[in-house]
């Protein structure tokens, strides 16, 4: 078992499922007073990148990522922690329920806590932009704490799987 977490970092470089029409379902609640305009001005001060996913696509892509991870590794993972990025206009897919998966705002913080007790934890942090008000850069990071023997090869295969989804590795530290 590795004491140093395995890490992967990549970027979604092109529209997810390019060429296939998809409902945008862009989500911003209706503005009904002056304060609403000011509130979204305050929140929407982020550097902009191109959106490559819609709100519904976002969970579909996340499911594809989860499938890559579970398909490419039969090694022990006690907990999968994923960063929570609400709002959503669609329901989280069924595959994220009934198993040891939790969405949290700060999954790395939690992972460090439980990894200190020996848990095998895999963290998915994604920042796929859906709307320009978001602070997002289309990045994906995967961090595997207490990765068991064989995890490096599994992580290599995961990187190939992410690549096939259009997420290209920008840093690969199989420490």
């Amino acid at each position: 078992m590795s004491n140093v977490p395995l890490t992967y970092a990549g970027v979604l470089c092109s529209p997810w499922k390019a060429g296939k029409p998809t409902p945008a379902k862009a989500y911003v609640p209706p503005f009904s007073d002056v304060l609403d305009f000011d509130s979204y001005r305050l929140m929407g001060q982020n550097p902009s990148v191109r959106a490559h996913v819609t709100y519904p696509d976002h969970y579909a892509l996340l499911l594809a990522i989860l499938n890559v991870i579970t398909h490419e590794s039969d090694l022990q993972i006690d907990e999968i922690l994923i960063n929570s990025r609400m709002p959503s206009v669609v329901r989280v897919p069924q595959d994220f329920f009934g198993r040891n998966v939790l969405f949290l705002n700060e999954p790395l913080r939690e992972a460090k806590l439980i990894a200190a007790d020996g848990a095998h934890v895999l963290v998915i942090e994604e920042r796929f932009l859906r709307h320009s008000v978001e602070n997002a850069d289309n990045s994906l990071k995967v961090t595997w704490f207490n990765a068991p023997t064989g995890a490096e090869a599994a992580m290599d295969r995961m990187a190939d799987g992410f690549d096939a989804l259009g997420i290209h590795a920008v840093k690969w530290n199989a420490a």
Partner: protein
């Protein structure tokens, strides 16, 4: 079975206008409200050991995803009030968030332990959509602090679910009806909805086992509906220590939580006075 030790709710209709100065200032405002609530609750319960604390929300979404709020900064602000800083935050499960937090807590505490749930629905930046909309009528904002003791995992009757169809509320009610058939829980709460939307409750649920729908008093208070119901029922003596009840929550997107709870002998419940912040002139 889960033991309910304390429930305290504070209504927070608006946050201090310092929330508009910067994201960092907003984190401080939010952290101060949550931190003070936790500190007050811990003092009321004579500072028991807490093994797991988590903060959940329904409406605090866009301020986080836009980067205006971040949990690390809020946690620092909470830490100025109390050592019992929630270890994390999630809004992903909407109103059922406290159930998913409990589900995770039992994985972390397989032998059981004391859990502090903080249900925070503060209308950061006073977004009009959250004040009232067609999905649930008018809203209520505030913070619940809920102190429970969970038993060893095998003895905890908790179900967190997700709908399979577009009729999430119907699936939840059907599941709750089934749950009530086997549960010894005398009463269950239901999410607060305007009177014109509550037909689904009378259709699915035995009316003599349902706590009052307090929408006309409080508005829809998201994940705090559960806890407001319990405080109200306790104050009315509809629920008493030593007895079992069912706590539920269901969300617009189709997530829900069901659990049997026993009201402990030392149970405390309170509605705390609302925080009245000065209103910002919309024309400013």
């Amino acid at each position: 079975m889960l033991q309910l030790e304390g429930i305290h709710y504070r209504c927070v209709p608006q946050l201090d206008t310092r929330e508009r100065l910067s994201g960092a200032a907003a984190c401080e405002v939010v952290g101060d409200v949550i931190g003070a609530e936790i500190a007050t609750t811990m003092a009321a319960h004579d500072h028991p050991q807490v093994d797991f604390a988590m903060c959940v929300s329904t409406i605090m979404d866009m301020p986080f995803v836009s980067g205006y709020l971040n949990w690390d900064l809020i946690a620092k602000s909470i830490a100025e009030h109390t050592p019992n800083v929630p270890r994390n935050f999630t809004a992903s499960y909407e109103c059922a968030g406290w159930g998913f937090a409990l589900d995770y807590a039992q994985r972390r505490l397989p032998l059981g332990g004391r859990v502090l749930l903080v249900v925070a629905d503060l209308n950061v930046l006073d977004i009009s959509f959250w004040r009232e909309n067609e999905n649930w009528g008018h809203s209520g904002f505030g913070v619940s602090t809920v102190l429970v003791t969970i038993p060893p995992a095998a003895e905890l009757s908790l179900r967190v679910g997700v709908a399979k169809s577009d009729q999430g509320m119907g699936e939840f009610c059907a599941d709750l009806r089934k749950w009530l058939k086997t549960s010894t829980g005398a009463l269950t709460n239901v999410p607060f909805l305007p009177a014109e939307m509550t037909g689904i409750y009378s259709h699915f649920l035995p009316s003599d086992r349902v706590m009052r729908d307090l929408h006309s008093d409080w508005g829809h208070c998201f994940g705090s509906d559960t806890w407001i119901s319990f405080i109200d029922a306790y104050q009315r003596k509809d629920i008493v220590p030593g007895s079992v009840y069912c706590a539920t929550s269901a969300s617009l997107r189709g997530y829900w939580a069901l659990t049997d709870v026993m009201v402990s002998d030392t149970f405390q419940a309170s509605f705390r006075p609302a925080i009245v912040a000065k209103a910002l002139e919309a024309a400013e």
